[in-house]
Amino acid sequence: MNDKKQLKVSAIKEGTVIDHIPAQNLFKVISILRLDKIHTQITFGTNLESKRLGSKAIIKISEIFFHDAEINKIALVAPDAKLNIIKDYEVVEKKVVEVPDEIVGIVKCFNPQCITNHEKITTRFTVVNKKEVSMKCHYCEKITDSEHMEII
């Protein structure tokens, strides 16, 4: 462990460390990755100092390794997140997240007249801009941008 900040939350033997999560979005990341359903050890740290984010959060999940498609979902709320894959207390791989082309079931459509806001339907969007995230609803064809984005 050469990163002093990581020491604030105890080290893990095997698993995934997700760093550089904006502190205010920690619980969104937890919900997107369904960490509440995981039974292995998880430690969280939040309101940690960060030069880039002001205040950041970190999550260490023991014995869990995510698929890229799974982990990329958090790019909507934590675009600068960095992943460290840990094996035997060592970082064996570093990854960054990337906004996926399609977003299924995470975001609420911004359009109050959209059918997805009136019936139990899994939302689906095509991402039209990855930098300042904006996405087009598969159903009503309206654009939801990052400013109006609400995580389900």
């Binding site: 959209c114 059918i115 009136h118 009503c140 064809e141 309206k142």
Partner: protein, 305 residues
């Protein structure tokens, strides 16, 4: 060539240029010979969750001319829907009873969703402010019929260009035919930027005007729309503009001989009745073309043509 067979028609962007052209050719066939009993033994459900008499009658006339039977409702007030049945359940049940569903619904995206849960193809007859593709196809048919072609035309769109879904769909469809667009609207109802960006990306020419006076001389098609009071945040603005986007007979004096005036109807006052006797007034024939176009859409989707 049955590429449209069993495919739902939800959005104008669902089909290619070739598929549009095939529908228009077929519509021409039905205009020459409207009574073709191709739908004998077929049942079409017209589910109008909100009333739209003209669109429903146009579809039902098309089905009747084809010899098909119709089930359905014209208003959801006295149906299981008013008892709280979900759209999912209504569509799943009705699709057991018919070969094709024609649906109008007030919520946007409802037609796409219905097409995903239905066992039979769905034709979107309007989903809120989103799409109404059979209207666009009948507009294309009217343009092709009056101009003899769709390529390289100059189209003037007048009125509510911000909220008008017929205008937006028409722009998307005509952008495949090297069209030059003129957008004429009050400041509050200007064409949304996304359409200008789209036209820029295709390298198509367009011009914006706020003044609707002697500018239609170059037009091949003038497409008029209603300017609705409820679209204005300031009622005084509406009062100032409501008479500024009205087409009158004297404005047609120097227009091209081939120019034709279209309107999705109903009109309020945006086309003065003194225009009606002109041979350039095409809006009532345009409505008739809707029946032929819908015959073409229905038979293509059912793989009968």
């Amino acid at each position: 060539m049955h590429s449209m067979k069993n495919k739902s028609l939800v959005s104008i962007t669902d089909f290619s240029k070739e598929e549009y052209l095939r529908i228009l050719d077929l519509a021409g066939e039905f205009e020459r010979k409207p009574g073709q009993p191709l739908l004998q033994g077929y049942i079409v459900a017209t589910l109008f969750f909100e009333p739209s008499t003209r669109t429903r009658l146009s579809f039902e006339s098309a089905v009747n001319r084809l010899g098909g039977k119709i089930i359905g409702f014209s208003d959801s007030a006295n149906t299981s829907v008013s008892k709280g049945e979900t759209l999912n359940d209504t569509i799943k049940i009705v699709s057991n009873y018919c070969d094709l569903i024609v649906m109008r619904h007030p919520l946007e995206g409802s037609a796409r969703y219905a097409s995903e849960v239905s066992g039979v193809p769905v034709i979107n007859a309007g989903d809120g402010a989103n799409q109404h593709p059979s209207q666009t196809l009948l507009d294309l048919y009217s343009i092709k019929k009056t101009q003899g072609r769709l390529d390289n035309l100059c189209i003037y769109l007048v009125g509510d260009l911000k909220y008008g879904r017929t205008v937006h769909s028409l722009i998307m469809a005509m952008s495949k035919f090297n069209t030059t667009f003129h957008f004429i609207s009050p400041e509050e109802l200007k064409i949304p930027n996304e359409y200008k960006i789209y036209l820029d990306s295709l390298g198509l020419k367009y011009f914006e005007h706020s003044d609707f006076t002697d500018i239609i001389d170059e037009a091949d098609i003038v497409y008029m729309t209603r300017v609705q009071k409820e679209r204005f945040s300031d009622p005084i603005e509406y009062e100032k503009t409501k008479n500024a986007y009205v087409l009158r007979a004297d404005m047609l004096k120097k227009s091209k001989p081939n120019m034709r005036i279209l309107h999705p109807l109903p009109r309020v006052n945006e086309i003065h009745t003194d225009v009606d006797p002109s041979e350039k007034a095409y809006y009532f024939t345009q409505a008739l073309n809707g029946v032929y176009t819908r015959q073409a859409i229905i038979t293509s989707i059912l793989g009968l043509k």
